[in-house]
């Protein structure tokens, strides 16, 4: 129970109805047939099946949704979207849930959320992704020395091949700054 109260506090900023409303609209005509679950390559690792997750969205069970790791386990293979007999944009609905977790920086999903945000910040700074810089910042943000160790052997192989460089990227104009600002402004208005 204490756990739920903590989560409630974390996601307190989610005014449940408003934040889930666009997603509820996307999947409103779900008939709970389970084709999405049967098509999902990551279902074996999920705590709730995709079908059940959609039911939870329709029932507005916000806490359970953000307590579960189902939506961050979506790898965007689009099998469910392709096969859904109602033609619902299920992969997009999964992304919309990820967007809420990223926007609210929910600690439960910090690995995924930090991965996405470090990537995006690198793009904002340079216009293109600098893989070494982005991964270095990701590791720094996670504050867990075991995670960089997991990547070290691959990092060394890639460096030996000259595919990534540890040199800091050359300072350059920020070609995407104005786009990022306009997007932020537009999303605030929405």
């Amino acid at each position: 129970m204490g756990n739920t109260a903590g989560l409630q506090k974390e996601i307190g900023a989610i005014s449940t109805f408003a934040d889930l409303a666009p997603i509820r609209k996307m999947i409103r005509s779900c008939i709970q047939c389970g084709t999405c679950t049967a098509s999902c390559p990551n279902e074996f690792a999920m705590d709730f099946t995709p079908r059940r997750l959609w039911r939870m969205v329709l029932m507005d069970q916000t806490e359970d949704i953000f307590e579960s790791k189902t939506f961050v386990l979506c790898s965007s293979c689009y099998f469910c979207t392709l096969r859904c007999p109602r033609g619902l944009p299920l992969t997009e609905a999964m992304s919309a849930l990820k967007q809420i977790a990223t926007r609210k920086k929910l600690p439960k999903f910090k690995e995924s959320v930090n991965f996405y945000s470090c990537f995006i910040e690198s793009v904002r700074r340079h216009g293109r992704v600098n893989e070494a810089e982005f991964m270095t910042r990701y590791f720094a943000r996670l504050k867990n020395p075991l995670i960089p160790l997991r990547f070290a052997p691959l990092g060394v192989r890639l460096m030996m091949k000259g595919k990534i460089s540890m040199l800091p990227p050359i300072k350059q104009a920020r070609p995407l700054e104005s786009i990022f600002r306009s997007v932020e402004a537009l999303e605030e208005r929405k």
């Binding site: 689009y78 099998f79 990223t102 293109r128 192989r157 091949k161 104005s178 990022f180 306009s182």
Partner: protein, 288 residues
């Protein structure tokens, strides 16, 4: 034949050999590629997990720049993730003037305007639809007889927009493989998911998917890919998964243009086979 060219970030770093071999293959078949000027990141899979409008605005910027080159309306994209991000903007703005207006309000301050004239094409689409096995035959220098190839398509060039192949049971690479004289490894994993960025954020899940693909490829001489993320997932973790599953899963992983390019007489150096992370000794012997 002329296309605008969007290489994408991976092709300048971890997938350099995909860039080099795509350019070399296209040149050897008389295709001209015009790189989009000052292109920027398409948002990869990260933008879509952070912000809906950002995930459309980033690719839209590149399409708007490409539209300035008026006489060439097809953009060739080798990376499946970049392809889908750019394609999404093409598809979503088609009958949605409101969205087009919103994207243009984002691009406006940079003096860019998207009209929706560009046609986004995956490298595999261009090779199968516009060039085809006949063109490959015309330029063929060495037959790759004795090689058994497992074609791996991954997800995002097939779904959610089925453009040039069956999104459930893709087969478009098969005539290309037989055109270079190689055999097809029959398998069911061609259109299955490699786990994408799960390998980074949820390795147990990601490596499970990669392991399934490598196991089903047993008996083939190589898997060929058409996406930098699929390529990296399939080639970089073979030892780790082999140890975990106590089975030897080492397998050569090549990009499609490296395989076709070799048959068209390009050298291993021209195709940068030295940059691949997994080419087995027995495969190298078969190439010489």
């Amino acid at each position: 034949m002329k296309y605008q060219y969007y290489p994408g970030c991976s092709l300048e770093g971890t997938a350099l050999e995909y860039n080099v071999s795509t350019r070399a293959l296209m040149e050897s078949m008389g295709v001209e590629l015009l790189e989009i000027k000052d292109w920027t990141c398409c948002g990869a899979s990260a933008a879509d997990s952070a912000s809906y409008f950002l995930s459309l605005a980033l690719p839209a910027r590149n399409l708007a720049i490409a539209e300035k080159t008026e006489d060439v309306t097809d953009i060739l994209v080798p990376c499946s993730a970049c392809y889908l991000n750019l394609k999404k903007v093409e598809e979503k703005t088609k009958n949605n003037p409101e969205l087009l207006g919103e994207l243009n309000s984002i691009l406006g301050p940079d003096q860019l305007e998207l009209k929706g004239r560009m046609h986004v094409r995956h490298l595999l689409d261009v090779i199968t639809t516009d060039l085809g096995p006949d063109t490959i035959h015309k330029y063929l220098k060495r037959e790759l007889t004795g090689l058994k190839i497992a074609p791996y398509y991954g997800c995002q060039c097939l779904r959610p927009y089925p453009v040039f192949d069956d999104p459930e049971l893709p087969r478009s690479m098969e005539p290309l493989i037989t055109a270079v004289g190689a055999q097809i490894h029959p398998w069911n994993m061609g259109g299955k998911c490699c786990g994408a960025s799960h390998v980074n954020t949820k390795p147990d899940v990601g490596l499970e998917l990669v392991g399934g693909i490598l196991q089903d490829a047993k008996g083939a001489d190589a898997i060929i890919t058409i996406c930098p993320m699929c390529q990296m997932n399939l080639e970089a973790y073979q030892k780790k998964i082999s140890r975990k599953q106590n089975i030897n899963l080492s397998m050569t992983i090549l990009y499609l243009p490296q395989l076709i390019g070799f048959a068209l007489g390009l050298s291993q150096q021209q195709l940068r086979l030295d940059l691949n992370l997994s080419i087995t000794d027995s495969f190298r012997k078969k190439l010489t």
